[in-house]
Amino acid sequence: MHSDTRWPSLSPPGLTPSEVGFLCEMEHVTVIPRQTLDGLELLGGPTGALKPPFPTPLPLWLALLLKKQRRANITPPPWLSVEALTQILDFETDERTAELFSPSPDLPPSTTSAPLEGDPYLAHDSLELSAPFLKDTATARAQADALPYHWLEIGHLLITHAPDDFEDLDAVRKLLRDLREVRMSKLRKGFEVLDAGGGVKMNGVGGMEIAEVRGFVGGVVDGLRWVTD
């Protein structure tokens, strides 16, 4: 149809940073409720009942809402602690690993090895989850030594909206900024080798980082392709 042919040229391909920022609010974080609340039946699935002081995982958007109303505290995920961020930053700036981005969280053990048909207790779907869909990347159970896909967005949101839940806010803020700058410069260094057939290894790069450079990289590659053609 008419509109179909025009739309792609109007909106940039892929997700924009604001869309990524919106999607990250679906990630679960751990909250410590300050008052009771029954479980809610949400589109994204039911949430657990809130009963102080038991920590409960909730979608980030709901957690931020409750935080704003002072009905809950948010426990920052383990990777958002000063020690963990320092460790990750060390990895990023270490000479030996200077080429790499710090690895993303470990994948859950593979589930497709031995499916057993017709067995109610051992049955499982053969869906293998990976980066944006991993569970528990921002709850209190998250892996401490790896930045998850949405690290930048979640870190930013938590620092802005739940500053009193951090032990050492300024240090965390500073580390996040350092990390972002270090990784951004690595990405930029990768673009120096961009040409029509070039590639950059982007393992471990977060969603927001991709969204931020997508416009530029896409433009450069397209332009190069146009020039070489």
């Binding site: 410590i32 102080p52 038991f54 057993l116």
Partner: protein, 832 residues
């Protein structure tokens, strides 16, 4: 003593230290600012001031003519007391100096800094310097003994290193491990070794206060409740003055290790104490730049102790450790936790060889002037000193005669000791109660986790409540009796919600009776008292029952609904400590569930907390970090303690980087809720730390979680399944116990089949793993199939399917046979 004790502001607020010259004429203080002060003894005039270039002074030591001052910039400077001016910089360290100590002749000064090595510098010729390099971590304190030939080095790794400096080359003669606590170099708490003036013994603040005698003496007289920050022997060794970071100051009698006096008017933590060499004056400096010179320090009736001649150190085998507050008494020749004592082997050798065989000249300095014959006792390095007068060998065996058992301290679960001017009275899943010491009164604050349900409150507390218990319905407080105001022990209950105007009540205990622990449940109030009574009240203050506890003295109690668990000291076990016994009582039905059963604790392990889980099962947490739950406790004689979680084997500690322990709060939602304590902390402090929860993990096998290759991962997975099976079985039996013995709700009843299915699920997964391994594992697979709890046959059917899938036909056949026999009732659980 003056009417009101007034500190002399000696320095800018901050850590301040002092030293008396050996002749007692001058007192030197150093602090954070760039001046030293020299007070004349017995004069109220302004002190002389030595202006210096350094600031942030951290240590001082003095002789009659000069003083040696260490500073944070790493310099150790010598100042003359004759001209009140600087003489020379003795040594420079690259890191802050933490302590200096002068030998008695003033010849050598030992310098502890944040560097690894200890430097011993000659005060007259600074080019002569000895380096002591055996420590692995920075040193916090150094301390010369009276002869100046032995140097005790308290290292931050928790070991006291003993160096002999008698030869040109310093020699490490002993590592005393496990005596002091691992402290950072800049904390207020001290690990300094204080040598007894007779040179054979020393006192040191110890690591495990739970086992220490400070704690025990507190039971009689209220000694220190927190780490020791300073200690000093009186010049003749008859008395010991100690100060704690909890702002306490105590005088102890050396001979009997009795607390003579405890001062409660100390406002800031004392960092250094020194006795005047001759007078009844003791001075101390605190962390606020103030100097206090206490005249008539020792109260009149005890002042005679100061006038007597040099007293022997209390060496009768153990009083030494009793003073250093570190060891519990030993009866056998077992492994002695106290490094100061001689090993059993030594003792055996000595018995064989006679008194002189093991003597060493090194310790000849002892002046056995009163002929008391104490010289044949062991000295601090566990060696026999030279015997000048033949001695009395029989005395060696004195400990066997004077032995007395070690009794467990009473404690209130969920409370912490004073730290600074505040402490938690109660910390649980409902909220927390904390109190602030305002000298004349306390202020108590109660905060709730659920801010919608309850409103936080705060009140001024003239009674100085020292225990509290909090639950959804109300708060219970109790205070100690006071001899000054004739106040008796009081229980005070304050419900959160009322529909009449006022329902809180107070009740007084009979005179002389003190609450040792108490507990509040949804239906009753329990208090154990110092007279050995268990007093039970209704929530409206009606006394319901009073009975005497069978095992006394009481240790602690906890309650849940109508169930009350009381823990007391029972008979003495083989290791010289009492066994803890518990009794579980249903007060409504007046039934004993368990009577005087043993609280299963390992050797050298203490009880940290007792509480009921949210499902109403008693749980204990011990100092080894193991959480145990009581199984089958509703049937008399059937109870057993089952470990739920060994926090030392948790995955988060596997890397070895984390140094943390856990302070138990609750067992709820099938999780262990606790507070993480970093480093050597024993109790949580302010600001209130976050609650953390951990899943249960029964210590079935130890297998590292982060296994590298696939084979390891498979094995780890297997161990995981095994643990899951044991845990599910435990939870199943807890749930079915509950349903069998109480009027269970339908939700509780529904839980039993769920747990049963969990057990079978774990078994099925184990079975699948066995089938995958191969045909030869068939026997084990069949055993697993036979363990299935399900009686409908569905589970065995599933098991058969798994066997078929892996083409284990024989196994499949056997499972089908088993299922058929079960279906017709041929195989019962007893047959298997």
């Amino acid at each position: 003593m003056a009417a009101r004790l007034r500190g002399r502001p000696a320095h800018a607020p901050g850590p301040t230290y002092l030293s008396y010259t050996p002749n007692g004429k001058k007192l030197i203080t150093v602090g954070v600012n760039g001046a030293l002060r020299v007070f004349q003894h017995g004069s109220d005039n302004e002190p002389a001031i030595i202006d210096v270039l350094t600031d942030g002074h951290t240590a001082v030591a003095s002789t009659n003519d000069f003083i040696v001052v260490g500073a944070e910039d790493g310099s150790v400077t010598k100042y003359s007391l004759l001209t009140n001016s600087m003489e020379e910089i003795l040594v420079r360290c690259s890191l802050p100096v933490r302590d200096v100590s002068l030998s008695k002749d003033g010849e050598w000064v030992a310098v502890a800094s944040d560097e690894l090595e200890v430097k011993v510098v000659n005060t007259r010729d600074m080019t002569r310097i000895m380096h002591l390099r055996d420590q692995s971590r920075p040193v916090k304190h150094v301390s010369f003994d009276v002869s100046g030939s032995t140097l005790a080095v308290s290292c931050t790794d928790g070991i006291v290193y003993m160096y002999s400096l008698s030869s040109e080359q310093p020699q490490l003669i002993k590592r005393v491990d496990g005596l002091i606590k691992t402290l950072e170099t800049d904390v207020e708490a001290s690990a300094k070794v204080a040598w007894h003036p007779d040179g054979r013994a020393f006192a040191a603040p110890t690591a495990t206060r739970a086992r220490s005698d400070w704690q025990r003496q507190k039971a009689f007289s209220g000694g220190h409740r927190a780490d020791i920050s300073a200690a000093a022997w009186s010049p003749n060794g008859a008395l010991l003055a100690t100060a704690g970071v909890d702002k306490s100051l105590c005088i102890w009698e050396t001979r009997s290790q009795r607390l003579l006096k405890s001062y409660d008017d100390v406002q800031n933590a004392i960092l250094a104490i020194d006795w005047h060499p001759t007078d009844n004056v003791c001075s101390y400096t605190n962390n606020n730049g103030e100097l206090f010179i206490r005249e008539d320090f020792v109260p009149g009736e005890h002042a005679k102790h100061l006038r007597i001649a040099l007293q022997p150190a209390p060496m009768n085998n153990d009083p030494l450790s009793e003073i250093s507050g570190n060891a519990r008494k030993q009866v056998g020749n077992g492994d002695k936790p106290n490094g100061v004592r001689r090993s059993a082997e030594d003792q055996y050798l000595d018995d064989l060889l006679g008194p002189d065989a093991m003597s060493e000249d090194e310790m000849d300095f002892i002046e056995d002037d009163d002929g008391a014959g104490y010289a044949e006792e062991t000295n601090h390095v566990g060696k026999r000193t030279a015997v000048a007068n033949g001695g009395r060998p029989a005395k060696r065996h004195a400990p066997f005669a004077t032995w007395n058992p070690q009794v467990h301290e009473a404690f209130q679960p969920g409370s912490t000791p004073w730290r600074g001017d505040r402490r938690y009275l109660c910390l649980n899943m409902t909220g927390f109660v904390w109190t602030v010491n305002q000298d004349t009164h306390h202020t108590v604050t109660v905060e709730f986790h659920d801010r919608q349900e309850h409103r936080d409150f705060h009140f001024t507390d003239p009674y100085k409540y020292d225990k509290a218990s909090l639950n959804e319905k109300g708060t219970l407080f109790s205070c100690r009796p006071s001899s000054q105001t004739q106040q008796r022990a009081v229980l005070y209950y304050r419900p959160h919600e009322t529909w009449t105007t006022r329902t809180d009540w107070r009740t007084q205990l009979p005179a002389g009776e003190e609450v040792t622990s108490m507990s509040l449940s949804e239906s009753c109030i329990v208090a154990t008292t110092s007279k050995g009574y268990v007093r039970i009240y209704s929530l409206f203050g009606l006394p319901l029952k009073v009975y005497r506890q069978k095992s006394m003295p009481a240790v602690t109690c906890a309650s849940w609904r109508d169930y009350v668990i009381t823990v007391g000291n029972g008979s003495v076990g083989g290791d010289g400590t009492t066994r803890m016994l518990y009794t579980i009582d249903n007060i409504r039905r007046d039934e004993l569930c368990q009577s005087e059963d043993v609280v299963a604790l390992g050797e050298d392990t203490e009880l940290r907390s007792v509480f009921f889980s949210d499902k109403g099962d008693p749980c204990i947490y011990d100092t080894e970090g193991v959480l145990l739950i009581l199984l089958h406790w509703r049937t008399p004689g059937q109870a057993k303690w089952v470990p739920l979680l060994d926090t030392k084997t948790m995955d988060r500690l596997a890397s070895g980087r984390k140094d943390e322990t856990y302070w138990p709060v609750a067992v709820a939602n099938n999780k262990f809720h606790c507070i993480i304590l970093k480093g050597s902390d024993v109790y949580p402090h302010f600001p209130r730390p976050l609650l953390v929860d951990f899943d249960f993990k029964i210590p079935v096998s130890s297998f590292p979680a982060g296994a590298a290759d696939d084979e390891d991962r498979d094995a780890a997975q297997q161990k995981n399944l095994e643990e899951q099976y044991v845990r599910a079985s435990l939870q199943h039996s807890l749930a079915s116990d509950l349903v069998d013995n109480t009027n269970a709700t339908s939700a509780q009843k529904a839980e039993v089949p769920v747990m049963e299915r969990e057990v079978d699920k774990a078994l099925l997964q184990l079975l699948a793993a066995e089938c995958r391994e191969g045909e030869e594992r068939g026997m084990k697979a069949l055993e697993i199939a036979a363990l299935m709890r399900d009686r409908t046959g569905k589970m065995l059917e599933a098991a058969g399917k798994i066997a078929a899938r892996f083409q284990r036909d024989i196994l499949g056949e056997k499972i089908t046979q088993l299922a058929e026999r079960r279906l017709v009732g041929l195989v019962d659980e007893e047959d298997m």
